[in-house]
């Protein structure tokens, strides 16, 4: 009882503020909380809403950074790449073909060990034009050393942006991180978000210290010389080793996040929904989680024990852990909001990765691939039920096609 009467400690952090904001705005708020130094913008829908919010924060004096409107995505990413090399915390982003226009810069950023944090407002690639979500933009960099994470709500967007800085700027990693937010469904949808206090963020996120890699007259190094066959492989191996260390650093960051902010995401790499007693599961990334969860609740009332696994971190890919989890079920259906034309079994990217992850596993249930919701088309509850029916047939031993396109006009 005496403890309750004691005055609160002076250092007690301010309480979280709750705001009704979109996914894009949540990431802009994270930039402010992280005291980002250099931000570059270039317009393309739907990601560019984040830069509109950033511009307002700068104009109102709430965010002190160099805010530069570039003349192309290539320059946008190159500018922050170089800013990061001299020790600035940076933020950038793009969507669809804009992300592809920056591809050269995206290639060298992890190779230079630049801890850039970027937002991808996932959008269908041209042509034909479509503003809606597809995951092919962000997935295009999956081999290059980018850490890739998908979020499905505005709170997770804000939290993950802070976690992304913490992981990317960890000296053991120094690799960029892209946060994927589904175009429209997340970038433009408002939700109540707990905005943490500056004190908590300070406790969670240390200063970016470029260390011995800092480009400065006091540290006159030569960065990225011509290495050729003499040394390229050893340098590449160092980048690969950093990515291999990423999983444990991500785990540490989530544990610290829970300790400081009092919010837990459980397993950082994937979220499991109603999987404890499930016969079959669906697997997917991003905001399709909403219709999938609604459909699962309905199907469970009909007696079907269906679960869902939402993959958050695509790079690094939690292969062993995911394989152990998925091995518990009778069949698995992977929903891709992307395509990978000519891939094994004509599946999407995620299904192909899941199959690769499952191969060494002791238990290997049948894995079906579904391609659904391209170009921003809604993934509907009937779509989810249709996919689940196929997964059940596979679970019963009935041969199913390796890949089905769902919600398609025939």
């Amino acid at each position: 009882m005496t403890e309750a009467l004691a005055p609160p400690p002076q250092t007690q952090p301010a309480a979280d503020k709750t705001s009704l904001i979109t996914g894009s705005e949540a990431i802009a708020v994270a930039c402010k909380l992280a005291d980002v130094d250099v931000i570059t913008a270039y317009p393309i829908r739907p990601y560019d809403t984040v830069m509109q919010y950033v511009a307002k924060l700068v104009a109102n004096g709430e965010l002190d950074c160099e805010y530069i409107v570039a003349e192309s995505e290539h320059s946008q990413f190159e500018i922050v790449k170089h800013a990061s090399a001299v020790g600035a915390r940076v933020f950038c982003g793009s969507s669809g073909v804009g992300w592809m226009y920056a591809f050269e810069a995206l290639t060298v950023t992890p190779a230079l060990r630049i801890p850039m944090v970027a937002m991808v407002g996932n959008r269908a690639l041209d042509d034909p034009g479509a503003f809606g979500v597809e995951h092919n933009d962000a997935l295009a960099v999956r081999d290059l050393g980018w850490q890739l994470v998908w979020v499905d709500n505005a709170q997770e967007a804000l939290d993950t942006a802070l976690i992304a800085y913490r992981v990317a700027e960890d000296r053991r990693i120094f690799l960029p991180c892209a946060i994927s937010c589904d175009g429209a469904f997340l970038t433009h949808s408002q939700a109540l978000v707990k905005v943490p206090s500056q004190e908590k963020v300070k406790a969670f996120l240390p200063r970016y210290d470029r260390g011995d890699l800092l480009l400065h007259p006091d540290n006159p190094i030569t960065v990225a010389p011509q290495a050729n066959e003499d040394w390229l492989m050893e340098i590449r191996r160092q980048t690969a080793a950093a990515m291999e260390r990423s999983s444990s650093v991500i785990r540490e960051a989530y544990a610290d996040f829970e300790r400081i902010f009092g919010r837990s995401y459980g397993n950082p790499f994937f979220e499991e929904y109603q999987t404890d007693d499930a016969d079959v599961v669906l697997v997917g990334m991003g905001t399709l989680s909403t219709p999938v969860k609604v459909a699962i609740r309905q199907m469970r009332q009909e007696g079907k024990k269906v679960g869902f696994v939402r993959v958050r971190w695509f790079r690094p890919f939690a292969a062993q852990e995911l394989a152990a989890t998925l091995g518990r079920f009778k069949a698995v259906g992977v929903i891709d909001r992307d395509f990978s034309l000519g891939a094994p079994y004509h599946s999407g990217v995620l299904a192909t990765e899941v199959r690769a992850a499952m191969y060494p596993a002791a238990s290997r249930p049948p894995i079906l691939g579904f391609i659904c919701g391209l170009g921003g088309r809604e993934v509907t509850v009937p779509d989810v039920k249709k996919m689940t029916d196929s997964v059940y047939l596979a679970a019963e031993g009935k041969t199913q096609p390796g890949t089905k396109w769902i919600g398609l006009r025939e």
Binding site: E66, S75, P225
Partner: protein
Amino acid sequence: MAVSDKDMAELLKLRPTQTLDPFKGVKKLPLEEFFTSGHRTCQGCESALVMKMMVKAAGPRTIVLGSTGCMYVANTTYYSTSWVVPWMHTQLGSSGSAGLGTAAALKVLMRKGKIKEEPINVIAFCGDGGGADMGLSAISATLTHPDYNLLMLMYDNESYANTDIQLSGSTPYGAHTTFSPPGKVKRIMHHRWKKNLAGMLAAGHPTCRYIATVDMSYPVYSMNAVRKALSIGGPTFIHSMDPCPKGWDYDPIQSHELGELVVTTGIWPLYEVEDGVLKLVGKTRDIADGRLKRLPVRDYLLRQGRFAHFTEDDIAYFQSKVDESWERWLIPGVIPFKKQLEEDRPPA
């Protein structure tokens, strides 16, 4: 109320630059080198000389960003860098963005007290492929940012010389490159006239405070151009004309002489545009003022294997285009609008 220059500087939070006074002559140059041994450029490479003089002019508190090209590949072999100052590679089309990002970061980190406050020079260089072709958009954009101090320098050896001598937007008319070889049916494969890059950038970026053309056959002027570009504040641009023994096909001993001839034939005018005021320099000024007669372009062209296939007609055409730039351009050698404009609308 009008915004004064001082108000604007306050608005832009422009940081002070280093004060780099002009060198008073070649014997007064500092001996200290910041671009030293360890490179493997060709014998007679003028661009390597540009690098050496550029950074000698800038001094030790300088960050250099180099886009892909000869001065990347030949100068920074892993484990044998020739750069004493900090140096970082940037992509072929990124010199403008590299300079901008570096300058922006220094500015904000000093403002926030995250690094020590001091003026640090930022120089981003590119070749003509990286500047006149691929990187033009980023260079142009950077020149519109009055709030960052940096110099972009283009070393122009008139081809993609690192990748095997392919033509660029800066290759002169008719030159033999591996992408424009003279053949049995077509003698001239390259019909495009060289871009007037410095003039284009000066005309198109009215808030840019300093743009110059240089040539390391005139080293004191060229180094002082670098010093002025770094001192004046805001983004600046220098276009350097660099004879290239490999790409132009001549004996390396002639680099310096060709660097003079390109000026004295009137092909390469030397000038500075400072705060919108054009100043012709050196031999170019002598030509403009009538103290020096332009030498025929033949004297320059026929010294180089890349023009060995030229006929008399080709030389005459080349001469006529150079003559036109001196006799009919609104500002000789700089702005390619014809004097017709004046004739149509005579001054009142």
